[in-house]
């Protein structure tokens, strides 16, 4: 438990430089460490960021984006066939509804609530439990321009610049202008924001943000919002049917090519169910569990890109799938918490990235991709700390927070982090944390317009699975905002189009067959199926004993 003895040599160096770094922080680190210029940013990204490495991307051979370069692991999954057999019969239909929401995280719950509010009958299906999503895990905060010295226009500028100007401007406008409303809406549902004594919100700065506008609920911001949204969904059993442990594995269409529902798969019983819906919202979240580049991830167990797969097969375009966000500070020690998210707020409240020699080597609050690249660079230079299992990390000097903000700050503002590290014998009030970039967010995704439409009729998308809101790099606090703003919009729009929609003809998965045929034509020889539903962590030795063809429980002669 705790750090191994040999690491204390480096820890002592960190402690030795701490007093000087406290002084620097008090005067304002911008005096000593200028934020990188555009050119410097480009250079450090090119040289160090995993996205820019040769072989990080490759062209996809099939589908609406064929020929474009996307992250290699993403292509590998998209180029897999569906597990549905070619002759899969869609009848009988098991559930009929107005709106089907696929995904039970923040965006899914917002969509379900607002669709119900606007008169729709809703089914929400999810792979694990309602609320099992990356939304539950975000810690630091949600951006909203609530301070008098701020404005939605400045928020817009920060977001679009942070996204390398690749964001769709109309989406950024929606994101930033609806933020204050979302703050109010969540508050009216009972979310407890951190506040100053006079009742105004406590706001923090964040990577890439030029103003303080990060609202928070301690370091359980995501959990606080998710718990409330989930509870509220469950307060409407007459309007919203929640189907847990029932992931969607394929969209179905009607004879006019409109998306008209989905096929669900029960992972325990092996059964299939068909939902017919007049509008479908995909809110399946991220892709951390495909471990791009072999990196560990901050994401939850079910973040396997299912929604992107289903939407792509149905003909939706993807945007910016060559861009992966690595969170600069993922825990790298102890091994049990490898990849865990250490919120950016640790840095906004004073924590500093420090190398093995105790040197503060970069301004702590560059946009995430730049910050992550600098940490990778530092370890490449040999200035990282080695863990017993051969990984490298840099120190995140958290005791500074107690010194700069007063004793008791960490306990008050970071109860989750304090508790998590204490479980493994590390008290972050007196010892620095050891971190390295970890796979964190899907910057791109299924392309949407301001009403969450994709180019496939009656298919709406919202949340992390969507693309265009954040460009090629998401700023801290904009994802929590994204799923609330666009989840809501998707719900309202889904209810609206459901009223006007008539399902024409028989349900079918012709688009799946077509996709399969395109794969064959392009000579793609994939291993396995997609969506992959759950990542594979079973030990190889244990898997060797698992014989797929040997199933004593295969139903006999029905």
């Amino acid at each position: 438990m705790g750090y191994p003895d040999y690491m204390y040599e480096s820890i002592k160096l960190v402690e030795a430089t701490r007093p000087k770094r406290v002084e620097m922080a008090k005067e304002g680190l911008q005096k000593f460490l200028k934020p990188l210029s555009a050119e410097e940013r480009e250079k450090v990204l090119q040289e160090n960021h995993p996205d820019y490495q040769p072989d990080a991307c490759k062209p996809i051979r099939v589908g609406p984006n064929k020929g474009e370069y996307m992250t290699a692991e993403v292509v590998n999954i998209l180029e897999r066939p569906s597990p549905l057999p070619g002759d899969f019969a869609i009848e009988p239909v098991d559930y009929r509804t107005d709106v089907l929401v696929i995904g039970g995280g923040g965006a899914g719950c917002q969509a379900a609530l607002w669709a119900a509010k606007n008169g729709a009958q809703v089914i929400l299906c999810t792979k694990l439990r309602l609320g099992d999503a990356n939304s539950m895990m975000s810690q630091g905060g949600m951006q909203a321009s609530v301070n008098p010295g701020d404005s939605p226009l400045i928020h817009y500028l920060d977001a679009i610049g942070g996204g390398h100007f690749d964001n769709k401007p109309e989406l950024v406008k929606v994101l930033t202008s609806e933020a204050p409303f979302i703050v109010k809406f969540l508050e009216e549902l009972g979310v407890i924001w951190d506040r100053l004594p006079d009742g105004h919100y406590q706001t923090q700065s964040g990577g890439g943000a030029s103003r303080r506008r990060m609202l928070s609920a301690r370091d359980y911001t995501g959990a606080e919002i998710m718990r409330v949204l989930r509870d509220e969904v469950r307060n409407h059993p007459d309007k919203i049917l929640v189907l847990e442990y029932l992931p969607a594995i394929e969209l179905v269409k009607d004879e006019e090519g409109k998306v008209a529902g989905a096929v669900l798969f029960d992972m325990d019983t092996g059964q299939h169910f068909v939902v017919q819906a007049k509008a479908v919202v995909i809110a399946t979240g991220g892709f951390g569990r495909i471990h791009i580049g072999g990196f560990p991830t901050t994401n939850h167990y079910g973040a396997t890109m299912d929604g992107v797969v289903m939407a792509y097969r149905a003909g939706a375009r993807l945007l910016h799938m060559d861009s992966v966000q690595f969170h600069p500070t993922g825990a790298i020690y102890p091994p049990q918490i490898h990849g865990f998210l250490i919120t950016e707020k640790i840095r906004t409240m004073g924590g500093q990235p420090v190398n093995a020699r105790g040197e503060l080597f970069v301004y702590p609050l560059e946009p995430r991709d730049v910050e992550a690249s600098k940490y990778i660079q530092e370890c490449k230079k040999g200035l990282g700390v080695r863990t017993p299992d051969g990984q490298y990390g840099i120190w995140l000097d958290s005791p500074l927070i107690e010194i700069l903000q007063g004793p008791g700050t960490i306990e008050r503002a970071f109860p989750a982090m304090l508790r998590q590290c204490k479980r493994f014998g590390i008290d972050i009030r007196t010892l620095p944390m050891l971190v390295y970039p970890t796979l964190h967010y899907q910057n791109g995704g299924v392309e949407i317009d301001e009403l969450c439409h994709t180019r496939v009729p009656n298919l709406l998308v919202a949340g992390e699975v969507s693309g265009g809101v954040h460009g090629r790099n998401r700023l801290m606090g904009n994802s929590v905002l994204d799923y609330n703003v666009f989840g809501r919009r998707a719900g309202i729009e889904a209810a609206r189009i459901a009223k006007e929609t008539e399902i024409k003809g028989r349900l079918n998965v012709a688009h799946v067959r077509e996709y399969q045929e395109e794969l064959k034509r392009k000579g793609v020889e994939p291993k396995g199926y997609a969506p992959i539903l759950l990542p594979e962590y079973r030990n190889l030795e244990a898997l060797k004993r698992h014989r797929e063809e040997f199933d004593p429980f295969a139903p006999a002669g029905l």
């Binding site: 555009a38 694990l128 609320g131 099992d132 539950m136 609530v146 301070n147 010295g149 404005s151 226009l153 500028l157 920060d158 100007f165 401007p169 109309e170 406008k173 202008s177 204050p180 409303f181 109010k184 549902l189 009972g190 979310v191 407890i192 924001w193 506040r195 006079d198 009742g199 105004h200 706001t203 700065s205 030029s210 303080r212 359980y220 995501g222 718990r227 409330v228 509870d231 469950r234 307060n235 442990y245 992972m267 901050t298 939850h300 167990y301 091994p335 049990q336 918490i337 998210l341 109860p415 989750a416 508790r419 998590q420 479980r423 759950l534 962590y537 079973r538 030990n539 898997l543 004993r545």
Partner: protein
């Protein structure tokens, strides 16, 4: 993490798993494909609640599967779900009055103050104290003490009075957040501005800039962390 294998028991069967494994990683090592009882794998979602006993120790302990490191001879079972009542309500119609507990979770008043809930909580929360705060009608105290609750359900599973601590705490927190927390005047102001269309012109202007102009505007923007 020495790489050595140590014995543990899942249900009553013995397995050997690497030292330093968590309960979840031990199950995966053994060959279980986890479809329930696992969620965020980071200690936030409460999906992996587990009960276990240690060697030569009669005490029944609770912990999160993704955070609890296995010990030799540990006996483990997962509790992926705890049946519990969840009140259905319209929060707009409620008031910050302890009457709501009488209405939605009357078993609250059966509390024996035995502290069993506190002892099993994997987040080390003062569960009994927030239950008592609810009895006293102190919503703020319930919110403060239960804030880090991940709703794993172990407290409710063990409670002799059969109270559902995590659901009534959630109701109390929502009531506090909606009715008792102070409000922000600045937010009301900003909402009015947005609604009046004050920023439409600015957005149009930004959208009309050329890529060069936009870049310049971005890199030259003022960085100012004052609130006003």
């Amino acid at each position: 993490m020495s790489g050595e294998l140590i014995p543990i028991y899942i249900y009553s069967r013995r397995y050997f798993v690497p030292e330093g494994s968590t309960i979840i990683s031990a199950l995966e090592y053994i060959g279980f494909k986890l479809k329930k009882g696992v969620g965020c794998k980071e200690g936030f979602c409460g999906a992996c609640a587990s009960l276990y006993r240690l060697k030569d120790d009669y005490k029944l302990k609770g912990g999160l599967g993704c955070q609890t490191v296995v010990q030799p001879e540990m006996q483990i079972v997962q509790i992926p779900f705890v049946p519990a009542p969840k009140a259905i309500y319209n929060i707009e119609e409620l008031e910050a009055d302890p009457e709501i507990f009488v209405r939605f979770y009357p078993e609250l008043y059966r509390c024996l103050s035995c502290n069993t809930c506190t002892k099993i909580c994997p987040q080390e929360l003062q569960v009994m104290d927030f239950v008592q705060a609810a009895i006293k009608g102190d919503f703020e105290q319930v919110a403060n003490l239960s804030f880090d609750c991940i709703m794993c359900g172990l407290c409710s599973a063990r409670c002799p009075a059969e109270i559902t601590q995590f659901n009534l705490a959630l109701l109390a927190r929502r009531i506090y957040g909606k009715y008792l927390a102070k409000k922000s005047a600045h937010l009301e102001q900003r909402l009015k501005e947005v609604e009046s269309g004050k920023f439409e012109e600015g957005y149009r202007e930004l959208a009309s800039l050329s890529p060069e102009e936009l870049k310049n505007k971005y890199f030259q923007r003022e960085i100012n962390f004052q609130i006003t």
